[in-house]
Symmetry: D2
Subunit: 273 residues, 4 copies
């Protein structure tokens, strides 16, 4: 099981959210207790938007908690919109190109979950990716394939429709390979202006996804953030962080959340055409 | 341009061939002078056979010359049949899964050269790999695709035929993508008993491939080897090593060399069916 | 807290002990549950003796569980005497030169424990190391300093005396810095023929150290070992491994164990002169 | 021989100077042709000042030319004052803690050159470092020792005096060890406001150090810089970069250059007390 956070709001240092709060992503990665994936030490990544046209990316196969470069970068890079991800896997190889976020032009993509028995359908799914996106595939994860399939299916035009189409494509391909209820995911996606989150499971039970509570509570995540945040900020997280974890709001199963223009909009994520 | 060596003969330490001779692979990697690829610092790998059923593999993205683990391993691993490879690329990402040798069960594969404009046909070539071999693909190089395509086309039964079929397949796919004379390669392949070398270029001009001269000269590569070697030993190298470089024999264009049972057999490599 | 194993006996593959038994070192490293050091992901190392004059060394700052090279090497390197170590630290930097074992000529050294407030006395302790050994210090750990101090104090001539002298030196230096009861350690040391283990704490409470039970039980650690082991084999481990953990014998506090010539000798470790 | 650049002026992206100009630091690192150190592939580092109290640091043991993180960071980090360094060594181990710049609080330090036979005097020099700075020493290079010795000798109060005292200390210690004319160096030092450069050799022949020419020429290093630079900018480089290399000014032997408050001041570097 992987873990991720995404933030949008006034510019803060990446460490304000990733490193400093209680039970932050790095802490979580050290203490993970799920039976088959006891620690998230299989790679870290963060992507951030600044005034450059495309987001910056830092990915490392060192465990997050012992990567001096990561600690330094998080203490110096400030951004109004960023994502970070820690990976735990017994599946795809540990290499930087398998670390999230994945990037295509101005797009960033993080994923928690998996395609069941991905090995059985990896080749078929790869064949369905449009050639213009294919050259951007450098690793061997299901996550990267899902992202590029979504791009192929129109992510650059309409995010929720493309994600729904990707889900249908994956589920159909899985069914052909004899795998039912193949998909289990939360996704975080951004184009540098907006942030989309998805929670979905083929069997109706996706991994958890939380959204930060109101500004009052978000200000308490980290006392140093409080004075930086303006009137609006929001986070999506795979698991709550900070001192007041029970104030975080669990996003319902099969949901889609859109955060843009200082507004949050939650809706059902219906993959049916 | 990459560089590689393959050895078969009495067991020697890997360092006897890779590290200690004058102008060895590591030295070559530091001093490479080809205009567009000035140094072979983009990954190292070595594969060796011992009494285990499948060969061992050590691959590293550090430059060979500063990898303490590599130096130590080469000084302690002894083998009667091994390959080593240094990589130089401005193309596929630097990651261990892109380092040679590639391995499938008891097979090892090293490659120098390239498929011209591989990006244009990578997806099509991947689609042609048999599913049973596909799961073994973890990186993003043309070399790994060539190996798995050859496996698909019967490498486990008949090496030269499978390599010829792979060449035809690559050239046909390239032609469809508008690329003529796409392939430029030397290959080293082993199943743990025999060693195959290939030199080929679509335009008749493959990269260089040399075979070691007689035992007298091979004993002079490294004085420490001399007492270890028995009556037969042979090396294939992309460029001569040791003090007496002009004694190495250049393998002719479009050739295939087979080394097995202490015999060397050189023949034309004809890709036509 | 670090973890280590040392083995002496008939030649076995390193993986027979390090990777394959239940609750092996790698598994332990993933599941560590001590409150302040939740996982041993801060570096791995193994050192082994073969027919070369000095032992081989492989050290890596990747977590052991995701290091493909480690898994491959452990499956191919066979040795009658070897050590392996997983590191967990919030102290000295994560770098290969801080990974155990440390090596000097034919000597290997692993350590679990620590010198309390080592920062206060690191410079003084470094100044006490004989110049001939000083050049071999490449990292920044207390462990490496302890090894080279022991070398300075005669390790090459008399292991237990040198370790006792090292303990006195560290405790005296600590006292000058205002630190009482500074030392807490288990040590594994070898010269390629014999194996020494030490368990010591300045306050009488060192970390745990176990020795393997009789041959019958050791054969059950890993069914594949059984047919390889001859009449004698022994392991020292920081924590029991294998299916029958309660058969391992806890070495008493303040003890010294010597394994040589197929004999095991346990004695009090008295640091007083 | 190492290579380094230091920049002060209007904020620019690190890549504007490190990656984009012709014959930039990365290119130089690939094509280095000095006989004994044929390539600068032994580690890279960059340190930059921003609005945080202390500078950021990114250091990597991958060759600069194949480090995707480096390329991305250099394309996103903007700074009015930064340094970058590529390392070539056959001496101290390749590890991040041996990469430049070295940092202490707000200070950054880069070095090219060496202390001859440093091994003979490393222990004595370490003993001369004030305890308050000693804990900051994590690697094994002569450069790091020189920096911390200079800190001990007053770098935080008076840079040129402390560097002169450090030189005297090193030369005296070397002489005791029977090494004459031990020091050969260029240094770049900053406190986040000012930039100091030094060129020195015990025998009067230090490595080269160049300063950028006037604004007209500096604007031509990289057409994209031109519109960013204001009225003042200056670089120190071990070797000229950009298209108009002969416009760079060689700093004379035994010199000290100070760049602060948009002024450049060059003076003799006299180490005599």
């Amino acid at each position: 099981m992987c873990r991720w956070v995404a933030y949008t709001g006034a510019p803060i240092l990446l460490e304000d959210l990733i490193i400093k709060p209680k039970d932050n992503l790095i802490q979580q990665s050290l203490h993970a207790r799920a039976p088959r994936t006891p620690t998230n030490g299989d790679g870290f990544g963060m992507g951030w938007y600044d005034k450059q046209p495309n987001p910056g990316l830092f990915r490392s196969i060192r465990p997050a908690w012992n990567d001096l470069n990561l600690l330094d970068l998080a203490a110096h890079i400030e951004s109004p919109l960023f994502m970070a991800h820690v990976r735990a896997t017994s599946l795809a190889t540990i290499q930087e190109t398998n670390c999230h976020p994945f990037r295509y032009k101005q797009w960033l993509f993080v994923h928690n979950g998996q395609i069941a028995q991905f090995d059985l359908m990896r080749q078929q799914l790869l064949a369905k990716i449009a050639p213009k996106y294919f050259a951007n595939i450098l690793g061997s994860t299901d996550s990267e394939v899902m992202f590029h399939l979504a791009l192929t299916l129109g992510l650059e035009e309409d995010v929720p429709s493309a994600i729904a189409a990707m889900v249908r494509e994956v589920e159909a391909t899985a069914k052909e390979s004899g795998v039912n209820e193949a998909l289990w995911m939360t996704l975080g996606i951004s184009d540098g202006r907006n942030l989309w989150g998805f929670r979905y499971g083929s069997d109706g039970k996706g991994p958890t996804l939380y959204i930060s509570p109101g500004m009052e509570e978000i200000n308490r995540i980290n006392p140093e953030i409080a004075r930086k945040l303006g009137r609006f900020a929001a986070c999506l997280v795979s698991e709550p962080i900070g001192n007041y974890q029970d104030t975080w709001k669990l996003i319902p199963e099969q949901s889609h959340v859109f955060i843009g223009g200082a507004h949050i909009q939650m809706s059902e994520f219906n993959v049916k055409e």
